[in-house]
């Protein structure tokens, strides 16, 4: 998953805060500073779980405080699920 795929999903699932440019260099910006609280992230990762048929642990999602950390975690899970397939 790429950053733009992730930001598109965030936008779709939880909207976009005013004054935030999700298309800018946001890879290491805290999700909280992008206007996304834990519920917004949960809503988005729930959608990713469905779309990609993977499971993301709530605890690990909660630790992913930036798009980079979240992407790393998602891509790791995707790789594991492809290996298993």
């Amino acid at each position: 998953m790429t950053l733009s795929e992730l930001t598109n999903l965030l936008r779709e699932c939880a909207g976009e805060a005013e004054g935030v440019d999700l298309d800018g260099d946001v890879l290491d910006t805290a999700l909280a500073d992008l206007g996304y609280d834990s519920l917004a992230v949960l809503q988005t990762t729930g959608r990713i779980e469905r779309d990609y048929d993977i499971r993301l642990s709530d605890d690990t999602v909660a630790e992913a405080t930036t798009p980079r950390l979240l992407l790393d975690f998602i891509n790791e899970s995707l790789a594991q699920s492809q290996q298993a397939a």
Binding site: A17, L39, Q43, E49
Partner: protein
């Protein structure tokens, strides 16, 4: 035996503070925004029509008051769209209008000086229906994380509080259709305890199949499907009521603080009381009259001082008669002008009495009593001075009545100052 809720301002730590209305925001079936709604109300414009939010063809009741011209994307921040029911969006609209109207900037207030107390009857039913359908048809993974709060009674108070940064005392009142008055009374209690300003009132609505089914089960919805005769309280043709969505959000402010900042004042919450009806089957008088008497007593005004009564206006024959008896018992036959502007909106549940308060405040401002529409002939034994065309009349003191299913009665007295 009724159980009155008496309002006492004496005794510490509460102060005898005066509560003033300084802002109004409206989302109503006959107008979005205070001035659009008020102009439509004075013109007698009926907002009741066939349901459009879902296909009502297979239901015995097919009319509702739906708020016109509301495009959520134009009024609600993108972050809030995925997490809000339709009625919460209407509440957020009305809250912003009320806060802007009051000319306050919540960010400039001390952190805990302002709170939010609204009324609710059902929560976000349309949102809840969608997510529960997802649950049983597709599975738990398809249920929105926002279902965790979007259908709660307290959701409007919460969302308004978060959006405007108001972290003072907040909550929700659930007393069915009496809630609009009970919330404002709770707001006044918070002012007496030291809050500066409370965002209050109520915006409600459950015009979706699930909400509709629940309302039909109450057996009080009108089976008449003609918009100009379906909801005619006090009329010989009354067959029940038409539900609607919307309501009003009001800013209730401590008088000292309001005067200090030079706020424009619509009126004062001068009296309030709530009572419960006697247990069904035990006889005894319903509690509405007693609520009105207690509210007038607290306001220190006699019946002769009241310029107009905004009636609850049930539309259910027996309840109409009870209310007419209460009003005529207090004021005498045709002893006071009575109006039911909800004939133009349907009954808005927790939003209904809040909208009546807004109408009462604007009646005071403009010296105009808004009409009751579509009522042609009062039922036998009912003899009210029903205002059926807008009536110019100096208005300084208004009695607002509200009842909720389950025995709730509330009365509020609003005065010019």
């Amino acid at each position: 035996m009724t159980t009155p809720v008496l309002e006492r301002s004496a005794g510490s730590p509460q102060r005898a503070r005066t509560a003033l209305f300084t802002g109004i925001g409206v989302a109503a079936p006959n107008g979005l925004g205070t001035e659009a709604w008020w102009a439509a109300t004075l013109a007698g414009t009926n907002g009741i029509d066939r349901v459009t939010r879902f296909d009502p063809s297979s239901y015995p009741a097919q009319l509702a008051g739906e708020v016109p011209g509301f495009t959520a994307e134009e009024h609600i921040p993108s972050r809030l769209l995925p997490q809000t029911d339709h009625m919460t969006r209407l509440a957020l609209y009305a809250a912003k209008e009320a806060i802007d109207d009051a000319g306050v900037d919540p960010a400039q207030l001390p952190e805990f000086a302002a709170g939010v107390v609204t009324a609710s009857s059902a929560g976000g039913f349309e949102f809840g229906q969608r997510e529960l359908e997802a649950l049983w048809s597709k599975g738990g993974q398809y249920v929105s994380a926002y279902q965790s709060f979007a259908w709660f009674y307290a959701v409007n108070s919460g969302q308004i509080s978060i959006r405007h940064g108001m972290r003072g005392p907040s909550g929700v009142l659930v007393t069915e259709q009496a809630g609009g008055l009970d919330a404002v009374a709770q707001a006044r209690r918070q002012l007496r305890k030291g809050s500066r300003l409370i965002v209050t009132g109520g915006v409600d609505g459950a015009i979706c199949p699930w909400g509709w089914t629940a309302q039909l089960a109450g057996a009080r919805l009108s089976p008449v499907n003609e918009p100009d005769s379906a909801f005619v309280p006090f009329d010989a043709r009354a067959r029940g009521y038409v539900p609607g969505e919307g309501g009003a959000i009001l800013i209730l402010e401590d008088a000292d603080e309001a005067r200090e900042r030079g706020a424009r004042v619509y009126g004062r919450l001068a009296g309030y009381a709530a009572t419960f009806d006697p247990k069904p089957g035990t006889g005894g008088e319903p509690g509405l009259r007693r609520a009105a008497e207690l509210a007038l007593a607290e306001a220190g005004v006699g019946t002769a001082d009241v310029d107009v009564v905004f009636a609850d206006g049930s539309g259910v024959e027996e309840l109409d008669r009870q209310e007419a008896d209460a009003i005529s018992g207090l004021f005498g036959s045709r002893g006071v002008p009575v109006t039911v502007p909800k004939t133009m909106t349907g009954r808005l549940y927790a939003g209904g009495a809040a909208l009546d308060l807004a109408a009462a405040l604007l009646s005071i401002r403009d010296g105009l009593i808004p009409p009751t529409v579509n009522v042609e002939r009062q039922a036998e034994g009912i003899d009210l001075d029903l205002v059926t065309a807008v009536r110019p009349h100096p208005v300084r003191t208004v009695l607002v009545l509200a009842r909720g299913n389950g025995g709730f009665n509330a009365a509020a007295v609003v005065t010019a100052d």
